[in-house]
């Protein structure tokens, strides 16, 4: 048994950290965030060259076939760099296609993602009072109609994977698909409301596999959050070492120092949980779903704490637009609520440990998935 990273994993981590530091520094993040879609084609091409767009997909469709611990590591580095744009949404859409699509669909949808030619989005939530994953009510056929909200990266997407109550569908951006911005906190990853009106839809036949795909997506969000937490911790510690008040670096004062220590504890803990969830999902262990919910639950709450402390430690500087911490803080809020917040996942954990049943994330939302899943 060995919880440390192996050599390949360490190389992936080091290379990614270096790559994002040079290719996507905060000045770039800010520049790209101010563009309309926060999608930068030049940067995207570099992702493809690095193999990031293909890393986690099967080799038969042009992917590199890396595992989910590796995915957690790359997402962590992306989170640390606050990489803007549709990488996460494309990754998740690809994961959905891989899980539910036919071989022929994978050839058509996955290969362009791997090659770096296509970006994609996943569409889940609907505007109704459920406000969470239970809100999925849309149904599809040869065409699909209805509105999906909180669709990250939709304006840049070549196609969308629509999760409906009767299964998942692939829909090309174009006729019958209207995209409206949903201005929200995370300026680096933009949300859209997407209205489908008799849009041509392709059913993904193996929608029963969606549960695992949703767990993978949830892990990706949690892992990305860990990277952001690390960066906010680093920024806070750095500031605590350099900012002087009353003749001392503020980090000398325990009120500040202990905030840093708590952020360290929570960041390390969130990391342990995310790596473990990656491993458990990769190995398909019986506790994989539980591990994912624990990772997402913990990172959702902990990132908010780390962000709160990060701003507090920076004082007035922390409240300025110019300081980077708020950009992470915004991302944390988006990630906290994506794929179930802490309360949602605690209830899922409770079902697993108290009732001994696996309430599939999708199950409550979708009778069809329930019978297949």
């Amino acid at each position: 048994m060995q919880f440390g990273l192996n050599e390949t994993q360490q190389i992936l981590q080091t290379n990614a950290r270096k790559f994002f530091a040079t290719e996507c520094p905060m000045s770039e993040v800010r520049r790209i965030a101010e563009t309309e879609t926060a999608h930068d084609a030049t940067l995207w091409n570099k992702f493809a060259e690095q193999g990031y767009t293909s890393a986690f997909f099967p080799e038969e469709y042009g992917g590199l076939g890396l595992g989910l611990v590796e995915m957690a590591l790359l997402m962590e580095e992306m989170g640390r760099a606050l990489v803007p744009g549709p990488f996460l949404s494309t990754l998740i859409a690809g994961v959905f296609i891989e899980a539910a699509g036919s071989a022929e669909q994978k050839e058509r949808f996955l290969r362009p993602i791997c090659d770096g030619r296509a970006t994609a989005a996943h569409a889940l939530l609907e505007p109704n009072p459920a406000r969470d994953i239970h809100s999925v009510k849309m149904r599809g056929g040869d065409t699909i109609s209805g509105t999906k909200i909180f669709v990250a990266g939709a304006a840049a997407a070549d196609f969308l994977v629509v999760v409906a109550a009767d299964g998942a569908y692939a829909v090309h951006a174009g006729e019958g698909v209207a995209i409206q911005p949903m201005p929200s906190l995370d300026v680096t990853r933009k949300y859209y409301a997407v209205t489908f009106e008799n849009a041509i839809a392709e059913r993904l036949p193996n929608s029963g596999n969606m549960q695992r795909a949703v767990d993978i997506a949830t892990l990706a969000v949690a892992a990305e959050t860990v990277g952001g937490m690390q960066r906010v911790l680093d920024l806070a510690v750095e500031y605590a070492k350099t900012r002087k008040q009353f003749g001392n670096p503020i980090g000398k004062y325990q009120a500040v120092q202990h905030m840093c220590a708590d952020s360290y504890l929570e960041t390390e803990s969130a990391r342990s949980a995310a790596y473990y969830a990656g491993w458990a999902l990769q190995e398909n262990t019986p506790e994989a779903a539980l591990a994912v919910s624990i990772a997402k639950m913990y990172s959702s709450d902990a990132a908010r704490n780390v962000g709160n402390r990060g701003i507090q430690i920076h004082g007035g500087m922390g409240f300025t637009w110019e300081n980077d911490v708020h950009l992470y803080y915004r991302r944390f809020k988006a990630n906290e609520t994506a794929f179930g917040d802490a309360t949602f996942h605690r209830e899922r954990i409770a079902s697993l440990i108290i009732d001994g049943v696996a309430p599939a994330l999708m199950r409550a939302a979708s009778p069809l998935l329930a019978t297949q899943g």
Binding site: M1, G251, W279, I354
Partner: protein, 395 residues
Amino acid sequence: MDLKLTADERAFRDELHVWLSANVPKDWAERKYDPLEKRFDYLKAWQRKLYESGWAGIGWPKAYGGRAASTILQVIFWEEMAKAGAPPFANVLGLGLIGPTIIAFGSDDQKQRYLRKILSAEEIWCQGFSEPEAGSDLAALRSEARLDGDHWIVNGHKVWTSYGWAADWCELVVRTDPAAPKHKGLTVLLVDMKSPGVDVRPLKQITGETEFSELFFRDVRVPVANTVGTVNDGWNVAIGTLMHERGTFGAGLQVMYRQNIERLIALARSTERNGKPASEDPIVRQKLAQAYAEVEIMRLNQMRAFSKINQTGVPGPEGSIQKIFWSELNQRMQQLAQELLGPYGQLEGPDGYAVDHGIWSYGYLRARGNTIEAGTSEIQRNIIGHFVLGLPRSY
């Protein structure tokens, strides 16, 4: 990263499992409520049995009765012990702290003389660090030793000494150079508690038990051969002990915590809230799930840390997060038990209406000690701030 057990690790686990199934005493479930001293004799006998079968100090070198097992095997060991509901070791501090210190800093003669008797529980050890004026600021301690030929003459006063009442030996930190800066004039001695001039007084704690003691030393003669490491380098020896205390000591705890949570889930099923089982109450469910998740994260943090220790060989200052985690989590868990049990949570003793022999009222109080013993939570946060994150020392 690969969390599957290797063939060797599986073989080890299976062998231990078989042994425990045959040997864990059946009456422990009852005997664990015996008064402290009676229970202690029982635990000594149990440890002797573990030792004779080669299950004590498995991480120690083979030459001293151990198995030179990796940290990973040690983790497996604690997990299996807890899963089997095995009684704990009697010589907790000897095994967890003092033995490893002697292995790291002791002379060959000391290793030959002491280690096996720690494993067999023939000699029980205590840790004489804290003093009335020197708790967190350990280096401010005043107990002193003067050289007199081939003996140290020890005078001083130690307090909150766990197992002081049961101990045959004490790892004692004393000042040997009063002129040197406070960290530079300390020395660690191994002191026979039966020496003339050692006075052990019981010290009652908030639980009503006397788990710890007060120690008085008056002109106690300690052979110079009982010095651990070099004279006046006692700070480094003591810090080595404390790293073990903070980093690896909690290994068996996560399984115990898991069992606590499982018990709380069972209690939630048999407790009513608003006419329904509390296990169906959304707030109780949220809290149980949170506690369960935290226990799991404590396990994962430990596994990650142990894997690192396995590679580097020694626990480092990051161990402070384990200490903070297990101590503060136990307090949260005990509070959750109290919320679940309502007024019943305060009942003591084996009889009447008390739940689970009163372990929850005891646990509620005992958990307060967790964030004080082995270095307070504030001190652990100072350690993380300064030694891990590189912030300036606050004092």
